[in-house]
């Protein structure tokens, strides 16, 4: 984890100067938010080896928690709104993780999928709370210690600050003994259990961390658009998160960020030019899976830019 410190520094510089290169602060903020979602997904797939098809559940929990808080309660501090989102999503993730880690392989994947369907159904039916398919409207961005965030550039930098903090925390978690245990479970769960780790507990804990990060992403999303559409819990969102997490490479948190940036910018820029751009995305995605397991980050690594893939 010594070398990636440099990578982290490069990433922060890139994020800081991005709005001067690309003049779409809302799109850039979305890329960072998706980066958090992809990194959280990648924590489960890359470290634990668990393919989650239900990340939209945690995204939705965070978005609705923040949205409801800001719509119904006056003068909520923005940090409290983020914390509430993280807590709600972490709680949801604990339940999903507890149940899904009972299954193995494809069965576990199907369980996360079933929970996604259930969450979508609930969000759709509870119109009085979530607004159903009309979405939850009228969310106003709070100020941040007196700082007005209604301006998109200001909100971008707020998002960037939250992103940097959360991403740094994630890197530290991966480098801590906790991260090593997750990788041990991925490589050989029986062996990890044999040397004394309660692997189920670690799996649930990984879900909780992934859920909390995803929830913060959902909260930032709700405040970015002032609106929570039903799509936040849609299965399509889950598969989009999978696509973003893979595009940049499995097993690297930086890869997840790269994947999210590629996905967000391509889908926005390219969809104007060519409406069938998902075809290109599909080809790119399959290519990564077939030949470039390390994803885009592996290409960079070949050039020796110091972005290392974790073992």
């Amino acid at each position: 984890m010594r070398a990636p410190r440099f990578a982290f520094f490069v990433l922060i510089v890139l994020i800081a100067i991005a709005p001067t290169i690309l003049h779409y602060p809302d799109l850039l903020a979305l890329a960072l938010i998706f980066g958090l979602l992809a990194a959280a997904f990648n924590l489960l797939l890359g470290e634990l080896g668990f393919l989650s098809f239900g990340q939209a559940v945690f995204n939705g929990l965070g978005a609705y928690a923040t949205g409801l808080l800001l719509v119904h309660v006056a003068h909520v501090p923005i940090l409290l709104a983020l914390l509430a989102a993280a807590a709600c999503s972490a709680a949801g993730a604990a339940i999903v993780g507890l149940l899904a880690s009972q299954g193995a392989g494809v069965y576990a994947v199907m369980l996360t999928f079933a929970f996604n369907e259930l969450a979508y159904y609930l969000a759709f039916q509870l119109r009085g709370v979530t607004g159903g398919d009309n979405g939850l409207r009228g969310i106003l961005r709070p100020t941040f210690f007196g700082l007005d965030l209604s301006n998109d550039v200001a909100y971008y930098y707020f998002t960037a600050a939250v992103f940097a903090l959360v991403f740094y925390a994630l890197l530290r978690i991966l480098d801590a003994p906790f991260g090593y245990v997750l990788r041990a479970i991925r490589e050989n769960e029986g062996r990890a259990r044999a040397i004394g780790y309660d692997t189920r507990r670690f799996k649930v804990a990984a879900f909780v961390v992934s859920g909390a990060i995803t929830g913060i992403g959902g909260a930032l999303y709700a405040m970015l658009y002032g609106f929570v559409p039903l799509e936040v819990v849609d299965f399509t969102t889950s598969t989009n998160i999978v696509v973003m997490g893979i595009l940049g490479g499995i097993g690297s948190p930086y890869g997840a960020i790269a994947g999210a940036a590629i996905f967000t910018l391509l889908s926005d820029r390219l969809s104007h030019v060519w409406s069938h751009w998902p075809l290109l995305l599909g080809v790119l995605f399959c290519t990564v899976v077939m030949v470039l397991r390390g994803g885009a980050v592996e290409l960079v690594r070949f050039r020796g830019l110091g972005v290392t893939k974790r073992a």
Binding site: L45, G49, L51, L99, Q102, G103, G105, V106, Y107, V109, M110, L111, F113, A114, F115, E117, L118, Y121, Q125, F235, T239, V242, V243, I246, H276, P278, L279, L281, G282, V283, F285, C286, V289, M290, R293
Partner: protein, 286 residues
Amino acid sequence: MEPSLVAIEILNGIVLGVIYALVAAGLTLIFGMLDIPNFAHGAFYALGAYVAYTAMTHAGFPLALVAAPLVVGGVGVVIDALFIRRLARAGHTYQILFTLGLVLIVQEGIAIVWGPDPLSVEIPHALTGGIALGFISFPYYRLFLVAVAALLIALVWLVLEGTKLGAIIRAGIEDPEMVDAIGYDVQRLFTIVFGAGVGLAAIAGALVLPLRGGQPAMGNELNALSFVVVVIGGLGSFAGAVVGGILVGLVQSLMSIVFPAADEVAIFVAMAVVLLLRPQGLFGRR
């Protein structure tokens, strides 16, 4: 609740269930037997409907029912031989991811070739009208659909259980190296089984086309449901896929009169319960 309404929903549930059973039978070959979690199964079903649409406008409906499984099954054979077989050693996760990418490609490919707007197709002339059953009437086309699907399922089962080819396939799944050593090309055999599974999804798409029309994303719902059916029925169990399919169709159909808001989610809750309480499925061994 009117008894005629219940009777109609039961009949509709059987029709729906037979379609699910047919698609799930294909998935059982691919996922249950070959152990490839093919998430593009629904996309092949959609492709089958669209190929049938083109064949239908040029050569009529009977030929479309032959063309759809042959063309799409052929596509499946090529994809398996070129890509999926090479991912076998990388494990389930990579296979799921690759087939997920295929869904994007197939879905968008359909939109490029046939356009993004929904298709609607008339029921073939010879099969219009219906059979009178007391105070309700049952359309001939649905009867035809059930008959064709039942025939196909029986055929696949007979080939698997009653022929030498079926014996070789089952032996190859049990112990590929041994069957290879006896002199059969197991990999080629598996590729053909993959193509057959894809073909079953494609012909289901062709059969559904006159009933529900077509749309590029039509496979997504069915893909999810066929996995649900295979999981509920028991992985690798052919009978489980068939019974599970009809069961899911019936539940969905009856829920639509009892509690329509939950007809979709009830199926997924059922799957989650089965997975948590009886992970091997209703018909699964072990």
